[in-house]
């Protein structure tokens, strides 16, 4: 069906467009921008005046919890949440049960996702079998099955030689390695940033050096092997500085940050709010400032939801025993808008962090609205105010540190491949 998105403000970071332009969709693809293509007859018109029309969001870290953790969330529930948040593509980390370490699992996940026909799923394969950090997975087979990168998720890889071999092997074939740097000895049993709050509350802590020491190792190995390295969920100002230098040096390194860390600090833990038990931990005010500076100067490429739905039983526990993680798919866009407003970042720049930049990290020619591209589109009203109420979230995970926050900006339509997969009521 041909769709005409009319009178909206089109923002397409890749093509540098921020203007009132209509979008014409023919045969699931963008047929024209601005002027209707010859002979165009709309089967449906989306009136978008007052709304922003942008490429569908790409989220580089969303745990769908399948296979293995269906009691936390299912593909069905989380895909509905994704499109309700304007997300049309998401990468899922391999820490499922079993982990995504063999092609059959990856194919099944892709098939299940495709049959739901909501958001596109890009699996990140396990770097080592069972994420145990000992044996390399069959990266070629996994790539054929659909993996876009290889990662340990949050599982430790303590043997540096295994990491070297993994990077060498990945570099041989041009595969991407995604790592969340954390020295597992320094982080052992830790649940909060090693700083003022953890000291006051008596919480076992994770120091910044747990991140920077592991990051230093990863960067040196990347220099040695020439691998395409992506650093996941940077949490500290010091790590941003190191990545900035590495980029200047010319290493093929990129990084992302979770939206939680854009807005929150250790102070938000308050009196042991387990919703603020996250991995990596929320760090100091100074770290938050450093992370935001990294976003502004382009050191940090993507902002992700780090969506990690946790079931209520696993959260309703004393802080340290509660499982780390927060829901995020439906909050990513409004929280990015909030950050952009706070820092006076033009939307054209701000939205790049959730569209074209994540697409590049996944090696996908997506995340934009060029003529000929798949019509993955998000239409949102930037003026609608709403309050975050966990019960109203579509994700099965209701746990969020942003409970009760006032948001501005709400998704009206999400289109995947030229079809409306979400429409607000």
């Amino acid at each position: 069906m041909n769709i005409h998105i009319k009178n909206g403000r089109l923002i397409d970071p890749k093509n540098g467009i921020d203007a009132q332009q209509d979008v014409y969709i023919v045969d699931r693809r963008i047929a024209a921008i601005g002027k209707a293509p010859p002979g165009f007859v709309a089967g449906q018109v989306i009136e978008a005046s007052g709304s922003i029309v942008m490429p569908g969001l790409m989220d580089v870290a969303a745990r769908l919890r399948e296979p293995g953790y269906e009691y936390k969330a299912t593909l069905e529930s989380e895909m509905i949440a994704a499109v309700a948040g304007g997300i049309t593509s998401l990468a899922c980390p391999p820490d499922t049960d079993p982990p995504l370490d063999e092609p059959g699992l990856v194919e099944m996940l892709k098939r299940r996702a495709r049959s739901l026909n909501q958001a596109r799923v890009f699996p990140i394969g396990a770097l080592t079998y069972g994420l145990k950090g000992v044996e390399l997975t069959e990266m070629n087979e996994l790539t054929e099955a659909g993996c876009k990168a290889f990662s340990q998720a949050d599982a430790p890889l303590t043997d540096t030689r295994v990491l070297l071999r993994a990077m060498q092997y990945a570099a041989t074939f041009g595969y991407r390695v995604w790592l969340r740097p954390q020295d597992s000895f320094l982080a052992k049993n830790g649940v909060a940033h090693d700083g003022e709050v953890a000291t006051r509350l008596g919480l076992p802590s994770i120091p910044v050096i747990a991140e920077t020491i592991a990051l230093s190792t990863a960067l040196q190995l990347a220099r040695e092997t020439g691998v395409i390295l992506h650093i996941c969920r940077v949490s500290s100002a010091a790590a941003v500085d190191m990545i900035r230098s590495a980029k200047r040096e010319g290493l093929k390194v990129s990084c992302d940050i979770s939206i939680n860390h854009v807005h929150l600090t250790e102070m938000d833990i308050g009196y042991f709010d387990a919703n603020c038990h996250l991995a990596p931990p929320l760090r100091s005010q100074r770290d938050k400032a450093g992370l935001r500076a990294g976003l502004l100067d382009g050191t940090i490429d993507a902002i992700c939801s780090n969506h990690s739905p946790v079931d209520d039983d696993a959260k309703q526990l004393p802080f340290a025993e509660a499982e780390a993680g927060a829901t995020g798919l439906e909050l990513l866009l409004p929280l990015v808008l909030k950050w952009a407003e706070q820092e006076r970042v033009p939307l054209l720049d701000a939205l790049a962090h959730i569209t074209i930049k994540p697409a590049q990290l996944l090696g996908q020619k997506m995340g934009h609205l060029s003529v000929g591209a798949h019509a993955d589109i998000c239409v949102f009203d930037p003026k609608t105010s709403w309050k975050i109420e966990p019960a109203a979230l579509k994700s099965q995970g209701k746990n969020t540190p942003f409970n009760g926050y006032e948001m501005q900006g709400r998704v009206r339509y999400t289109l995947l491949d030229g079809q409306i997969v979400y429409q607000s009521t």
Binding site: E196, A198, G202, L317
Partner: protein, 318 residues
């Protein structure tokens, strides 16, 4: 952020931490405790029927003999019915969640919970979930807080030193893992003690401890110079096995309280310890039993302070 310890009238609803405990309430607790100590006999504690008909549940997820016993005595002297539960050895090992355990105890019509748990924040967590007529007393949560211990320490200091505003107090030992030290520091700062020192090797001090309002010393003789009060901390046995300390002997040599080191303090300094003591590791026997030691009076005062806390909580309006 609402102070989870106070009700809407600003009265004490739960005792979870000495942090954020308003000075007037802190003083009230000490004054009330004094009223339970029979002045004529010096250290005798009176019996009163303030909690008659109330049920106090001692819910200990972590083992303790001394603290549980003093809470039990305190509750009985207030004429409460006391139930002791060592959950560490029952429900949770059968897979029951903490909330289920708490709900079950509420269904048994508890009026007050005295909770000890190995996790920091456990008492806050329970306080958030109980009905408004139920009071929670934190009897120690992880490394976070042990407010009644700190309050009895404050009572003891006031008993011997009368005032707080002219004191120099040193806390010695494993501050990193100590809920007692954290609670002491907050109580001392609230009461206006101008100089609080912590003395320990770097491995036993938490990051940015100075931000709690203390001065850091690594040398015991320097740290003890001219102090009025010495608060010793217990060194947990497991700390002597990991990488925090090389050996008990070496610890005693540098951080154990001996007669010689005690001589650096003021001549009338008092020595305190929350117990149970490791003689010959953190404190020399001759000091523990010597004329500066007020370790046994601390235990006695602990009963009066716990009576004061319980009676204040039961007096709070719902």
């Amino acid at each position: 952020m609402n102070n989870p310890q106070l009700n809407k009238n600003g009265e004490l609803q739960h005792l979870l931490s000495t942090e954020g405990l308003p000075l007037p309430i802190l003083r009230d607790i000490l004054d009330k405790a004094a009223s339970f100590v029979d002045i004529s006999d010096g250290l005798d504690i009176r019996n009163v029927p303030l909690l008659k008909g109330k049920s106090v549940f001692n819910v200990f997820f972590e083992n303790s003999t001394r603290t549980r016993t003093t809470f039990e005595i305190a509750a009985k002297r207030l004429s409460a019915d006391v139930v002791n539960l060592n959950i560490g050895s029952s429900s949770t090992s059968k897979g029951e969640t903490l909330l289920d355990t708490v709900d079950n105890l509420c269904a048994m019509h508890a009026d007050m919970f005295v909770v000890r748990h190995s996790q920091s924040g456990a008492a806050h967590f329970i306080a958030r979930h109980v009905a408004p007529e139920i009071h929670v007393i934190n009897a120690g949560d992880g490394r976070h807080a042990h407010p009644t211990q700190a309050l009895l320490d404050m009572y003891t200091i006031r008993h011997y030193k009368k005032e707080f505003h002219n004191l120099r107090v040193a806390i010695v030992g494993d501050v990193l893992h100590s809920r007692v030290a954290r609670s002491q520091i907050h109580a001392l700062t609230t009461l206006g003690v101008p100089e609080i020192r912590v003395i320990a090797p770097k491995t036993l001090l938490p990051t940015m401890v100075e931000n709690l309002g203390v001065q850091v010393y690594h040398d015991m003789s320097q740290g003890l110079r001219d102090v009025d009060v010495i608060l010793m901390l217990r060194l947990q046995n497991e700390r002597m096995q990991g990488a925090a300390l090389p050996s008990a002997q070496e610890y005693f040599k540098y951080y154990g309280l001996t007669e010689e080191k005690l001589a650096c303090a003021k001549p009338d300094a008092i020595v305190m310890h929350p117990g149970p003591m490791n003689r010959g590791i953190e404190i020399e026997s001759s000091v523990a039993d010597g004329k500066h030691s007020v370790i046994l009076p601390q235990v006695t005062f602990g009963i009066a302070v716990r009576m004061a806390v319980m009676s204040m909580l039961s007096g709070a309006r719902v």
